[in-house]
Every structure is written in structure tokens, then in C-alpha cells.
Symmetry: C2
Subunit: 501 residues, 2 copies
């Protein structure tokens, strides 16, 4: 240990001594448990007063680096901090295990530092068009709720949610053919995202394997990663999960949980057919596996009723059902729901309490009033017409402007479809070019937890009007054709199969 004293420095002497010793301790030049010189000895060595050394020791004791045993002397403590005190402290180091990509698919843009013109055509984002929000009905409901001026509106509420809203959701699900859901099994959550988070925390310990569709919802695998889960992906086919693959994987790997979107899947817009649903339930049944069904957008069906939910076909109670208002009503209210088997109610209640107590009581009451007044039904009728037309326009524009080599899904509901381009096209590169010309979309890799999707695009058809959808698709089509002219084609069959097309 080398202690340097500078009598001309402004720093007090005891402070200089303390700094030298601190440095020596934190850099392990003096080992944990080692005895320091007696104050008298060190003072003589340094040619300073004994009290100065004692003050330095006291200071380091207060910092928890030294301890004094009466009669035995002063020692370095045994348990020194793992991060080397001040010199080594860094938030980045503490958060090293947290490194990871941005959630937003448009983060692909940021790396390229692409200047995007104002008011771009947003074919990105599974987000409703706020210009179609039923504001008048909402304001009327709010005025009605406020006329009561009931302060209970604004008190803490129970973790499971506002009872009348839970009851309304149970009734509403019955209208869709999901019978026998008691209000006690409906939990109000802030949306599907929170639902997946809560379930991941209930069921998973780090290293557990979760089975997902590929491609799938980005937010799902982000939060499953937070729980330390390993993603096992099953490609989806036009009729839903590739069951042959699923069986192969289940025979090989211990899976803890299945997460699927059986209805207008995000990003592809495809739905599971009845046979696939049945087989999936039989497999889960045989193996004792819980299934999370994310029914995030089922009320948005455009040409006939939506596919049945797994929950409605699950008498054994294997399925946990997630729903959200964010895709067809007001995402800014942050409200969704979850239907759970009875044994989950108490653990979920407890976990929700620990996480953030509950959803807001005020917004739950507004929403309940809005729904029960019949306004949700009216709004959905209207939205189905608007979105259905936009979907048709997009499909037509793809037909007209995209090259023959491209393929895409033809959803019957939801908000998005998937385009698979020839594999010479890199979707992230295409995005940078398209964005600079004022058209945004979500590039394929954002939807593959274990890599893939290089030449895929997710296009949203419910956020822009018909004219702008036409314009956006036309521009994308011309950019794709141009790129194809300038690249040497590679053999399509050599790449990954895209079974849902």
C-alpha cells in the first residue's frame, strides 16, 4: 500500500489518507480480513498526526470497508463489494444480464438513421385507427359516470378487477359461443401483454421451454425472455400450427407451456382450423400442458363469424384465454381480460397484487358503462365494415403491384397480413428504403424469436384509409420489383419453406 501525502493540495490530509487506503482495499492490494498498521505506526511513517490517521480509519469504517475490534486493531472487512466500489461502479455492469434489442420493429430503422418524411403511410403497428374511435359515445358515458360523482370511482380496487366489468365480459364471451365462463374466472388486466407476463411469472422458472408459433407476436417472446424461458418454435401452416412438427418437438423436448394465437394470428392473419384445434387440445391433454390462447383480435372478423376459441372447446380446463380491448377500442385505457381455470384464481390474484395492485378502477367503470350501453356492439359493427374494406383494398393492391414471385396471406379478420418476398430481398433493407420514401411496415425478423423471416413483411391494413393503403402498397411493390431487377435470384426452394403461404 502506497500512501501519498500532498500538503499543498486543498484536500484535507485525513481525506488523502482515506482515499489511498480505500483504493488499496477496493483494488484488493490489501486483502479482506488483513490487519492495518496501528494509527501510531502509520502516523510516524507518514510524518502526520496520529489523529489524522484515526480520522481516516473512522471514515472508512463508516463506509463499511474497515472494522475495529477493541484491543485487537483495525481490519479490512471480509466481505468486500463484488463490484469494486466507486471505480468499478457502473449501472451498465449491474444491468449486463439485461442487454437486449428494442421492442419496436421500427428499431430496424434507427440503426440505419433513416430520415422519415412527416406523416408517413403507416402499414406498421397492430394499432387501431384513432380517427375511428367512438369518441362521442365515450364522452357521453364519461358524463354519466361523472354525474354520479362517486369518490369510490377513484379508490383502490381489487386485483381481479371491477366486478360488473368481469360479469359483462363473461356474458359477452357467451355471445361468441364461449359458454360457461363464470365471472369469478375473469380477471381484468391491462392487455394481452400483461397477461402473458403474469402467466410467464406464474408458470416458468429460468431455462423452461415454451412453445410458440413462428412467426409470432414480438411482445410475447420479449416477455418470455424476461422470465428466462427458452423459445421453441413451430412453423405455422395455412390451417394453423404444423402438427407434425409439434408432435416431433414434444417427443424430443420437455415443454412447460404453449402460447398460440388461434384466431387471425399476429403477424400472419391466419387461423387454426377445427381439426388442428382439436389435435392441439388432445396433445396438451395427453401431456398435461397448459395452453395460453391469445385471442387478441377475434371480434374483428370481416367475412363470417370468427373461428371458435380453444377455450370454448376445452372442457378439461387446460386453456387460459387472453383478450384485449386495445385492438378495437381505446388502447390508451389499458384494459383487457383473462379467463383462467379456477385453481389459478388465488395465485393470480396474489401475483397481480405484487406486480401493480390492480387496473384502474375509474377506467374500468367507464369501459363497463360503454360496453353495457350497447355502444361496443355498434362500434364493432362499424369497424368490421371499415376494416373489411381496407383489407380488400390491400389484397387488391398487392395483386396489382407486387411481383408474381411474392406470396401473401388472405386473412378473414384481424389487422395484419404477411407477405413473403423472394429471398433475395432483405426486409430490413427494404424498410430503410421504403421509410425514406414515406411508407412504414414491420420487417419479418421482428416476429421470429430464434431467427428467420428475412424476406417477410407484416402489413397492417386497419390504420390508414383506402387511398393511402393503395399508395403505400404501390410504392412497396415498385421498390421490391426494382430490387429484384438488380439482384441475382437465388433458388427459392433452397431457402426456408414458408408453410403458411
Amino acid at each position: 500500500m502506497r500512501i501519498e501525502i500532498d500538503r499543498k493540495a486543498g484536500q484535507p490530509l485525513y481525506d488523502q489518507v482515506a482515499a489511498s487506503i480505500r483504493e488499496a482495499v477496493l483494488s484488493r492490494q490489501i486483502a479482506g480480513g488483513a490487519r492495518l498498521p496501528a494509527t501510531r505506526t502509520l502516523a510516524q511513517d507518514l510524518g502526520i498526526h496520529r489523529h489524522t490517521v484515526a480520522a481516516a480509519y473512522r471514515r472508512l469504517e463508516a463506509e463499511g470497508l474497515l472494522r475495529t475490534a477493541v484491543g485487537a486493531g483495525t481490519f479490512v472487512v471480509e466481505a468486500l463489494p463484488a463490484t469494486e466500489g466507486e471505480r468499478g461502479f457502473s449501472w451498465e455492469e449491474l444491468l449486463r444480464h439485461r442487454a437486449g434489442p428494442e421492442p419496436d420493429p421500427l428499431a430496424y430503422l434507427r440503426t440505419g438513421r433513416v430520415p422519415v418524411p412527416s406523416d408517413p403511410i403507416r402499414l406498421n403497428g397492430a394499432v387501431p385507427d384513432s380517427r375511428e374511435f367512438p369518441m362521442d359515445g365515450f364522452i357521453t358515458c364519461m358524463r354519466e359516470v361523472l354525474d354520479g360523482a362517486d369518490p369510490h370511482l377513484l379508490e383502490y380496487g381489487p386485483p381481479e378487477g371491477y366486478e360488473p366489468l368481469r360479469a359483462w365480459i363473461a356474458e359477452w364471451l357467451a355471445d361468441w359461443g364461449v359458454e360457461g365462463v363464470e365471472a369469478e374466472r375473469v380477471f381484468i388486466i391491462s392487455g394481452s401483454q400483461q397477461g402473458i407476463d403474469l402467466l410467464a411469472r406464474l408458470f416458468l422458472t429460468p431455462g423452461d421451454r415454451v412453445l410458440l408459433e413462428a412467426p409470432t407476436y414480438t411482445g410475447a417472446f420479449m416477455v418470455l425472455r424476461e422470465a428466462g424461458a427458452r423459445m421453441v418454435t413451430i412453423p405455422i401452416a395455412a390451417q394453423g400450427l404444423r402438427m407434425d412438427e409439434l408432435r416431433r418437438v414434444l417427443g424430443r423436448e420437455p415443454i412447460k407451456l404453449i402460447y398460440v394465437m388461434p384466431c387471425y394470428q399476429n403477424p400472419t392473419g391466419t387461423s387454426m382450423d377445427p381439426l388442428t384445434r382439436q389435435e392441439l387440445l388432445a396433445l396438451a391433454h395427453g401431456r398435461g400442458l397448459p395452453i395460453i390462447e391469445d385471442h387478441y383480435t377475434s371480434p374483428l372478423h370481416y367475412w363470417g363469424p370468427p373461428p371458435r376459441s380453444l377455450l370454448s372447446e376445452d372442457p378439461e380446463g387446460r386453456v387460459i384465454h387472453l383478450g384485449t380491448f386495445s385492438k378495437f377500442l381505446f388502447p390508451g385505457l389499458r384494459l383487457g381480460w383473462m379467463v383462467v381455470p379456477r385453481p389459478l384464481c388465488q395465485p393470480l390474484r396474489r401475483l397481480r397484487w405484487a406486480t401493480d395492485l390492480s387496473s384502474g378502477t375509474f377506467t374500468q367503470q367507464l369501459l363497463e358503462r360503454f360496453c353495457r350501453s350497447g355502444r361496443l356492439t355498434d362500434h364493432l359493427d362499424r369497424l368490421r365494415k371499415i376494416n373489411g374494406r381496407r383489407l380488400k383494398v390491400m389484397l387488391h393492391a398487392l395483386e396489382k403491384h407486387f411481383p408474381a414471385e411474392a406470396r401473401w396471406t388472405r386473412p378473414e379478420g384481424g389487422m395484419t397480413l404477411w407477405v413473403e418476398l423472394p429471398e433475395m430481398i432483405d426486409a430490413a433493407e427494404l424498410l430503410r428504403e421504403a421509410a425514406s420514401q414515406g411508407v412504414l411496415f414491420a420487417p419479418g425478423p421482428a416476429f421470429y424469436p430464434n431467427g428467420g423471416g428475412r424476406s417477410g413483411l407484416r402489413l397492417s391494413f386497419n390504420r390508414e384509409d383506402e387511398k393511402r393503403i393503395r399508395r403505400g402498397v404501390r410504392l412497396l411493390g415498385s421498390l421490391v420489383k426494382e430490387r429484384m431487377r438488380h439482384r441475382r435470384p437465388t433458388d427459392r426452394t433452397g431457402g426456408d419453406a414458408v408453410p403458411f403461404l
Copy 2:
């Protein structure tokens, strides 16, 4: 393997065969990987048609229990489900690692099945009195916001929160002496509870040790337990943490995170004095330790300004500051804030996104309007008068009605105080008796993560009016005195010291 066939049963034969094999496979009577008899052989043995056996095999294949290798035969798959399929499936089993107590301190009542009279005097709960909510001002703000009828009110918002509300909070903190907080470092969260949850998830991996005060906020250790943390507790003294204990613990155990409430601590109502704050910061500084400061109720100061926050004394950026509106405004809005050092902004943004995307945009705008209009300041002025009077009334009633052997804290702000009874009194038992007579409080053990607090009570003084506070304390006092008369006193000094009294 024993296969029983009942030709008189209504169940198809192939189904009976499949059920027997399934049973044998799931109960491990047939090992994973084992070869099954050829369909012809088994059919002969059972005296049934070969196609019936083949149908049973196909069914089990569809369930993922068998696999057929062409030319080699039919085998049990290698990776059988860990939970033994249908027979062994139980949600309770899947959630075994989740067992734990209810968050609510009143759960102590449920075990006793005590009938509580209607409208009990609620000295439990750190909850504001909703009769004092500023409803008129809130309704005015809401009407103003709605007159704009801006659909953006109800869109998705950024994870970090509504920018004008973040800016207002940064300015407001400066009014309290917390200077230099840039709006970019303010995150809107749903309350302290979510703040602790997010931080636990950012910093902790299972087994990590967190340092807490004892007693402390129940919700804090509940959520830290969710993160797999081990609780290390430091008793608090009248002037805050017992620093001698803290130094001793830091010299002995590797601590990852410190969680404290330096201002009107929950449950005791005590605050850290300036020297303790300084020493705590020096220790954290020397050891590279982050400190979470939960300033959950600092605007509720009744006799002079609140103690300074750690954040305001922390030029090194070690402190993460949590605040909430729930303790003095509308808990049902679910809004609070968090001030973080700059390197945490991106990881926190990402984690919040994965957890539940963001707080509601609509409620954030309402709150911002309410705060910026000056109504929050007016409301706080009023609330300080009301709560201060209630605190005085409670202290006076304790003096008058509680036995000389009891001791209690004398907070200068906040919502709760702590009573320590002679150790012959069991607070949970007392609660059952008090509840049956119409008075509720929170029993001591609810605030000790590692046990303790047997004879402690937390009393809330801000939820009932003065008359009912008097009545509640009088009843409690008489119950305590009665119990003391009927029990043999034990030696007080033999029990745990209660250093904050």
C-alpha cells in the same frame, strides 16, 4: 402392460385399447423408447381385429405418446411429459413454487373466520380517505380534457409516460428541493408497487440478497420474493436505519440492492435523520450499491417541511426515487413516478414495454391537467390540515386509553404509526377480537419479511374522522388492558428490542 377389453361397454374397442396403453405409458409401466408389440401380435393376444389396434396406436401417436418408424415398428416417445399426463395433471402441482401468503394483512382475520360488523372503524390500510377526494376539481379537469375530444387521448402511449406529466413532476420535485431532475429521467408508473417490481426485475437474479428496513412495506418484500430475492433486514431506529447493524451486515453478506423509505416510513411513520442519510449514501458509494428510495408519502408533512429525499443528496446517481399519487390523490387512477439515473432509461423502457406497455394515456392527461392547474397544491394544503388533526387526535387517544406499558411512534407526516404492546399480547389474536367488535388495524407480523412484530400494531390515522379514530383507539386500549389483566407478564427486556421507539 395389462389391457382389458369390455365388449359390453359403450366405449369403442380402439378407445379402450388406447386408454390402457396411455395409462401404461404415463405411469411409466412402459419405459420411454420401448418398442410396442406389432399390431398383428397384440390383436391376436386380445382377440380383436388388427385395425382396432392400429387405430389405437394412431390415436396415441396424435397425442404425442407414440411414434412410428417405418419398417421398425411403433415406439413410446423418449421425452414423456414430466407431469404424468391426465392422471397427474394439476394446476396446483404446476404452481407449487408459487405457494405463499395473501398480501392483505387482514388475511389474518380470514383464518379465524371472524364475523366483522358492517362499517367497521378502519384503522388498517395505508389508504387515503375517499370522502376527501377533490372530486369537483377532477370533474372540471375531465370536462376540459373532453371538450378537446382528441382521439389521441386514447391511443397507445410510450413506455416512459406522457411527456407533459413527466415534465410537470420534474418541476414539482424541484419545489421540494430535488433539483436537477430532467424530465427524461422521470418515468410514469402505476405506483410504487410497480416501481419496486420493475427494479427487482432489472437488478435481481434468484438468490440475490436485498437489504430492507424491519418493519417495512409488505408489498415490497412480496414482490422481491417474486423475484427470488433473499430478504436481509436491518432494524430501524427513531432516526432511521440502525447504521451499526447495516455496517455489520454489509461486512458479512453480499448485498445487491437496498430498499428504504427515508420519509414517514411505512409502517412506523419515522424518518431518517440527515446524518443517517449521509452515512447510508457513503456506504452505498463505497460498495457500489444502488438504493431504492420509496418516497411514497412525502407531501403529507404536518408540522414543517418533509425530510430531504436521498435523491436530493445524491450527486453520484446511486439513488432511484419512487413516488406515487395514490396516497394523497386518486389511487384508482394507478399513477406514480420513478426517477432513475440516465443509464437505466433504456433498459427500463424496454422492461416496461414487455411488462404492460405503458400506463394509460387518458388518465395521465387528466392528472397532468389537474396538477398543472394548481389544484394539487390546494388539495395537499387541505389534506395536511385534515390528516394532521387526525394524527393529533390519535396520539391523544393513545395517551389516554392505552396502558403505560405500550409505546408508540410520533410521526410528523404520512399515514400510519406503530404501537408496540407488551409482549404478552399477540397482535393477530387482538385483531380477531377487535374486528369482531368493529375495529380493524394491521397486525405487526405483516411487516416483517423474516418473522417478528408479534406484539406490534400499525394504525392508520387518515382514513376515518376524528370521532371514529377516538372511538377505535379507546376500544383497542380497553381490549389490550383486559388481555394484560388475564395474562402473566413476561420480562420485557427478554424480548426483541424495538429500537424505533
